[in-house]
Subunit: 266 residues, 2 copies
DNA sequence: CAGTGGTCTAGACCACTCA
DNA sequence: GAGTGGTCTAGACCACTGT
């Protein structure tokens, strides 16, 4: 058979939306109104096709639209469900020594525990590498030699991956210290060690952006469709204005957000 | 005809990817390698279908995948093109009086001009309203009466909409001032006026998150598929620790990002 | 006008989930 | 095994862009 029949409307406001959009719009409306609440199961594709007198593919297209908006979560063999919004982990630039000594916990751990979940941080790799031009520039090191240590950390909440952080440290600073070798950095975490080495963090610079994940990120962080990632490039600066560490974070935007409190000078 | 023929592979590593994914992966590879550079036109759907011996819908599905990743830009009647990454506007928390008086420009205008583009900011609406529970809580005002002024601002670069900001100000502060009435706030912009009213900004709190846009945001900001938005809830705090203004920003993540420099106290 | 994407149809088989 | 989503086919007409 041919194309869809136009909706019979010779009046002022013909519904110009194609059926797939119309179905998506109606479902979205019902989700936002709460008629379909979080976790609720949508009608199956075949049911919806029947209900709207369309082909299954058309109903399916409608669901795809909502999926790409991050509104529904489709599970193979089970159905499509209204996505539950987990409360966001509020992370941010929290590097003060007071905080380190007070809680004995990293800001990440503290935040996850606050939400009644179980934190885990895995250091999966420590290598000495040749830095990218960008990293070399940020740290003021030689881009042509193995001038930095690269540490990769994965952050979990209840065993669910939330973010990855890749830290770059000039070899001249890390050489001989635990930073260059050990996964476990001891009390006060990494900033405690930098302080031991004569580089207390006195200023933090953060560049934040958001985009859709690459396929690698989608796999690694188990990111569902319709969920973007936030990317933070963090630079730590010491008392002499010297950048001594750069970390690139990639986090699932549906699980976390960032919080900053910034003093405003004259 | 029936289902796709499996790729003839009785060896160890059969390619388990469905054709649409495989085509998408190959195109993505070519884009990342630079073989298809920014702005380049992809083969048409019909050409790709022919080249891969699939139905047109299958080739189309592959393009849709890349589109949802934000990698390609599809134009009706013209073709699909590798998306150009415009340089990001780096915005952030820049509220110092010095900056206000130095340039005479708002941080937004300064940043857009720096990129050789033409800024425009339109104040499209000023109303006295009853605040949402969230806003009322943040400002410490009555959620049951018209206790706040709401100002809506649209930010453009070369007439392209980049972000929207909705500002809420307690009526008790805005009453009688230009804040409650006028679009144009004069030199030093809005923070100059708050200072005139006895509320210099001494601290800024920002909560940042990212998500896919709602259909309204997609329309209003002309956001292409596969592009998320960043949302910032900004709170200004005065010398007495009193929050005197909340602004909710929504910005296209492909056009802008955020930059923060944060001092770290002991 | 030809060419491109946008959308739909009707039917098919595969892969996963759950009782 | 019944039901659900995942994917594909072959063909169709619509709507937009260009020459």
């Amino acid at each position: 058979m041919g194309y869809q029949q136009r909706r019979g409307d010779t009046l002022q406001d013909p519904d110009r939306r194609p059926p797939s959009r119309r179905i998506a719009d109606e479902l979205r409306e019902r989700i936002i109104r709460g008629e379909l609440s979080a976790g609720a199961k949508l009608p199956s594709e075949r049911e919806m096709a029947q209900a709207y007198s369309t082909a299954r593919n058309t109903a399916r297209e409608a669901i795809t639209i909502l999926r790409n908006e991050g509104l529904v979560d489709v599970q193979h063999g089970r159905g499509a469900f209204v996505r539950t919004r987990p409360s966001l982990l509020r992370l941010g630039s929290r590097y003060s020594r007071a905080l380190r000594e007070q809680t004995g916990l990293s800001p990440y751990r503290a935040e996850v525990i606050k939400q009644g979940r179980t934190p885990r941080v895995d250091c999966t790799s420590i290598k000495r590498i040749r830095p990218s031009a960008d990293i070399a520039h940020r740290l003021g090191v030689d881009p042509a030699s193995k001038s930095v240590i690269r540490r990769e950390n994965w952050y979990f909440a209840d065993n669910q991956p939330v973010q990855v952080g890749v830290t770059f440290i000039p070899w001249t600073i890390a050489r001989g210290s635990v930073l260059a070798k050990q996964a476990n950095l001891g009390p006060g975490s990494i900033y405690g060690r930098f302080e031991d080495l004569g580089h207390p963090i006195v200023r933090s610079h953060e560049e934040i952006s958001a985009r859709m994940p690459t396929p690698e990120e989608t796999r690694g962080l188990a990111i569902p469709p319709g969920v973007p990632i936030m990317q933070v490039v963090h630079t730590s600066i010491d008392q002499h204005g010297v950048p001594f560490e750069v970390t690139q974070f990639v986090m699932r935007a549906d699980l976390g957000g960032l919080d900053y409190t910034i003093p405003v000078d004259d």
